[in-house]
Symmetry: C2
Subunit: 466 residues, 2 copies
């Protein structure tokens, strides 16, 4: 009993009214046939960047071709590759693939359906080649968090204008399919908060400081020797790399344009071994924790050292492992844990995206069309939280009372306090405050010199409820 | 520079050679147009079953219509509903929707695109209505693990023959998007092992036994009073419900037909409080753990109480929370944790599937076409493992030596042993063995009476490496 409706000529791309049920029904089988035709040919990749991840992707494709084809429903082939140095020794066979010195040329090749960008960097060849691929009507799969954190909105607009997609599972939390979980699996949830430990190097350093009792500088040197640090270590220990990742998660979670510049960044360089020990004494661990949440005051994005309970999933995370915690209105709390880097995990994420494209899964880059993402209004003040304070007080009667008075006058009340053994005329004091704003706390700390009993600068670290 | 190729007439569904690049290029925009036409109309749901989950789904759609439409790229509407009792009080407004007494009629309605089956049960109306929906060319979203564990292969074949899909994220581990992660996110991975704590009621009982020091029967009664148990409690405590879920994960992980009958099932009813305490003393917790792995001897599927290290993610799982651990060749270990049941988490999973369909994401039910899934050859012998043994020995000289001898003669060697305080002429002994087969262990245990020193029946529980 379909209502009558105008004959539809599909061959000339004539639009029909979508409310016409008869047209919908008639289009269904034709659409299905065309999809089948398009989808039965191999999906052809052009891979730019042949470092650990690039060679890992090629190795995975060569090793698991049959498994990948079975799951993707069609073969996935590499047709061309590109890297800076053609002569560099790589332990995968590149002879079956066309070589392009210029990734832009690779991105434009007619025999490339998907451009896989594994070069890295927020500008230069990675950006040029990604733009070229999109302009040439290719889908893009990338592991490049920096590129997307800085240019994600423009790139997504361009890709979506051409009906193409940019997928970036490998850019955030390595092998953990967090982009897919957030964008698709939890798509029915109003997201309250996204948190994550997403830089394995920082977590390694903090974990190692605790387990070996070594100061930051010593463990930093260890990490450098082990090759765990980026060429510019500040990308890791300054929180920039993890901040890039957080800004991408926030865009998806809250339907806002990527706004990396609004991420409040603080690295781990100022974390003293004494704070790690003291936090442990109070039942906490220090993590470089990313937090994104939509508040009444706007979008809050922080990447900074925080205390989390030692017995929470985040607190128990050791070494280079990553963890992302997503809190949704309907689903409650979902915790995802896995390797945050390395050849296999990153190749797994890249190929998960590729198989999605091979299967015809193509959704907007950030879950909603980039043109509809809202401008993120950055929260200028972070939500109140309890804080950990460590300070050293002169061994004088009433010293503690003076500190408590200054805190109280600024509206900061004390939840727990611990005074440790005296030492050279002064005593270390640990304080856990009740929830207060950072502003109130900073105001109180600025007045501490007035007490005349505080030795040196107090240390304050946020305690995140997880 | 396209090669020449025959003109393609799309309006009459003429197949063109897929190797013809010119045809592919010409088809692309037409396919895109048809997809756009089909995809801009609202997606219309028929929901059968209005218990906690059904009303939860309706509430979520009503509360978050705008958010869901923004992410799905089109509106998601309920057009009709069905349940056993129309008059039952439900705290959602059903007046906008057509009512059908018979879910089969609902499944066949012209104004239903997706049939959402939330009735439960592996036969009866759930099966009939799902079959009717597929026959009528609808996609199906279901939370029904029993139906799929028993009839998943036949239903998937039918759905895929008609170009339709059955999605069942809500059937496994509640709000955790594990089906999506396994089927899509980790699709490039040869899966080594999937493990999970997937029955919140059992985990609640075991956790509560430990925390309150109460025996199984008492906590079982508590759980019954709290409404945590299914009408047939054996579905929970007998491991059947969790076994259903495991069999679905195994099918996806290993590309085999669902084979629930091959799941080795053991419930938690025989777990004594003494074992929970003794396990804790040795650094373990007891969990109803599902394990699926492909071995040289075939597919191993077990759902049984196991010891896991107390400080592992699985060991730390408390109460009704679920956890799934996936081990892939490339990605390593991925851990997913979240609420395993409840209105919000289950509705989140159902609507995640619905939004996928609204976005045009449609992949084979078990990740590969059902027609290509292989017959699972069930492993008749589980992989070797260490075991926990608890037995009571008469307080006689040489008693322990006799037990060790019997174990040793069966090829079971002892890793750790602990003898506790004597008690009425006999002493409890705890043993952790090195890796051995269950057969070897059972053989040794069958010979224990010969020693003349073992009082009562020894208890043996597998220790799973996690």
């Amino acid at each position: 009993m379909q209502p009558p409706c105008e004959t539809v000529r599909i061959g000339r791309a004539v639009r029909v009214p979508v409310h016409c049920e008869a047209a919908r029904q008639r289009l269904k089988p034709v659409g299905k046939l065309i999809t089948e035709l398009l989808m039965s040919a191999p999906l052809r990749l052009g891979i730019a960047g042949l470092g650990t991840v690039g060679t890992g992707v090629i190795r995975l494709i060569q090793t698991e071709a049959a498994l990948i084809a079975a799951r993707a429903g069609r073969a996935v082939e590499v047709t061309g590759v590109s890297a800076r140095d053609r002569k560099k020794a790589r332990d995968v066979d590149l002879s079956p693939y066309a070589w392009e010195d210029d990734p832009v040329t690779l991105a434009r090749r007619d025999d490339v359906d998907v451009f896989v960008e594994l070069m890295g960097g927020d500008a230069g060849p990675a950006k040029a080649a990604t733009e070229a691929a999109i302009a040439a009507g290719k889908d893009v799969v990338t592991a490049n968090k920096a590129l997307l954190a800085h240019h994600g909105q423009a790139l997504a607009l361009a890709a979506e204008a051409g009906g193409r997609s940019i997928r970036f599972e490998a850019a955030v939390a390595g092998g953990i399919p967090v982009i897919k979980v957030l964008t698709e699996g939890l798509a029915a949830n109003r997201i309250r908060r996204v948190m994550g430990v997403m830089n394995g190097t920082c977590n390694y350093i903090l974990t190692r400081m605790e387990s070996a009792g070594l100061p930051y500088d010593a463990v930093f040197e260890e990490a450098r020797k082990l090759g765990y640090l980026e060429a510019d270590p500040n990308l890791d220990v300054g929180g920039i790399d993890a901040g890039h990742k957080l800004s991408l998660l926030a865009a998806i979670a809250f339907g806002t344009k990527v706004s990396f510049d609004a991420v409040e960044l603080e690295g781990i360089g100022r974390i003293a071994i004494e704070d790690i020990r003291s936090a442990a004494d109070m039942g906490y661990r220090i993590k470089l924790l990313g937090v994104a949440q939509m508040t009444g005051r706007g979008l809050e994005q922080r990447m900074s050292p925080c205390l989390v309970p030692s017995d929470s999933p985040l607190g128990q995370l050791q070494g280079g492992t990553n963890m992302v915690v997503i809190e949704g209105e309907a689903v409650g709390q979902i915790v995802l844990r896995g390797a945050g880097a390395g050849e296999g995990p990153t190749a797994s994420a890249v190929m998960g995206d590729v198989i999605d494209l091979a299967r015809g899964i193509r959704i907007p880059v950030f879950g909603q069309p980039a043109a509809l993402l809202s401008d993120a209004v950055a929260a200028t003040v972070a939500a109140p939280a309890p804080f950990y304070l460590r300070m050293r007080l002169q061994d004088k009667p009433g010293a503690l009372a003076k500190v408590a008075t200054v805190l109280g006058e600024a509206g900061v009340s004390i939840d727990r306090m611990r005074q440790r053994a005296h030492d050279e005329g002064s005593a270390p004091v640990l304080i856990v405050t009740h929830r207060c704003t950072r502003d109130a706390l900073d105001h109180a700390l600025s007045r501490m010199p007035e007490t005349g009993v505080v030795v040196g600068d107090p240390v304050a670290i946020r305690i995140e409820a997880v």
